[in-house]
């Protein structure tokens, strides 16, 4: 049975894959380079990684769980020293696809995403073995229920 995090993860992937701007850069269908938590070793750049940051249940009296709130980090990653170009294109498309939705009944298999909106933008630099990487995206507040 899917839990609330599964519902939100499915929602994120489905929304991102529905964007032509995103699939043009990271591929489409089962080959889309959209990964949860960490990309496989040697994955082609650019790609998108998303992670659950702060899940918390919304509970009622007794053993009733109403929904789960979470913050999700959704970031595009490039091997580059620039935050512009494809990285900005992907970050903008991520925001377009995930920001400002509410009342999203039945958008994900096994549950509903009640709302999704951007909490704050995100960018970070990383240098690994002398190679520069840039990340850009946003942190989104979401709430989901299982059905």
């Amino acid at each position: 049975m899917a839990d609330e995090l599964d519902v939100m993860a499915t929602f994120i992937v489905d929304r991102l894959k529905a964007s032509g701007a995103i699939t043009a850069l990271v591929g489409s269908g089962v080959n889309a380079r959209i990964y949860q938590d960490v990309a496989p070793q040697g994955a082609t750049f650019p790609y998108i990684v998303f992670s659950s940051l702060a899940p918390n249940d919304v509970s009622a009296v007794g053993a009733v769980r109403i929904a789960t709130r979470d913050q999700w980090l959704v970031k595009a990653v490039v091997q580059s020293q620039s935050f512009g170009g494809n990285l900005t294109t992907l970050a903008d498309a991520i925001n377009t696809q995930l920001h400002g939705d509410s009342g999203l009944s039945g958008v994900a298999s096994g549950g509903n995403v009640i709302h999704s909106y951007r909490a704050r933008p995100f960018r970070l630099s990383e240098i690994n073995n002398g190679i520069a990487y840039r990340w850009k995206g946003a942190i989104f507040n979401m709430m989901a229920q299982v059905t």
Binding site: V38, L53, N56, R69, L73, K75, V77, L124, N128, I139
Partner: protein, 116 residues
């Protein structure tokens, strides 16, 4: 002609206001230290400890009466918190704020209720 009124025998409003102010300062300090403890606990829970430098450097520092900063001294801490190209995020900041934040707001609400 009938008339009515209220005689004020005691005026403790100044003391109540002062106590509320001081209690709010205490609750803010308590929340900052609780956030520090929660972040440390989450880092250890996620097994994100190597030398212990980052987890030991997580500290709550007071800026003024109602402003505290909970930070740490490890320059790599954003990469632990948000992940790297090889490692998943082991988030301890947002996770801890999501737990302690509502507790702080509830404590402040209780102070207001008590003063009524």
């Amino acid at each position: 002609m009938a008339s009515s009124g209220i005689d004020i025998k005691f005026n403790h409003l100044a003391q109540i206001a002062a106590k509320l102010h001081n209690d709010a300062i205490a609750e803010t300090a308590k929340a900052a230290h609780a956030l520090e403890a929660q972040e440390k606990q989450k880092v250890i829970q996620d097994d994100a400890v190597d030398t212990g430098f980052m987890v030991n450097s997580i500290q709550a520092q007071q800026v003024d009466k109602f402003n505290w900063i909970v930070g740490n001294g490890a320059e790599y801490s954003p990469h632990v918190n948000y992940g790297t190209i090889h490692q998943p995020a082991r988030n301890f900041v947002e996770y801890s704020v999501a737990i302690i934040g509502p507790q702080y707001i509830a404590a402040m609400n209780r102070l207001v209720e008590k003063s009524r």
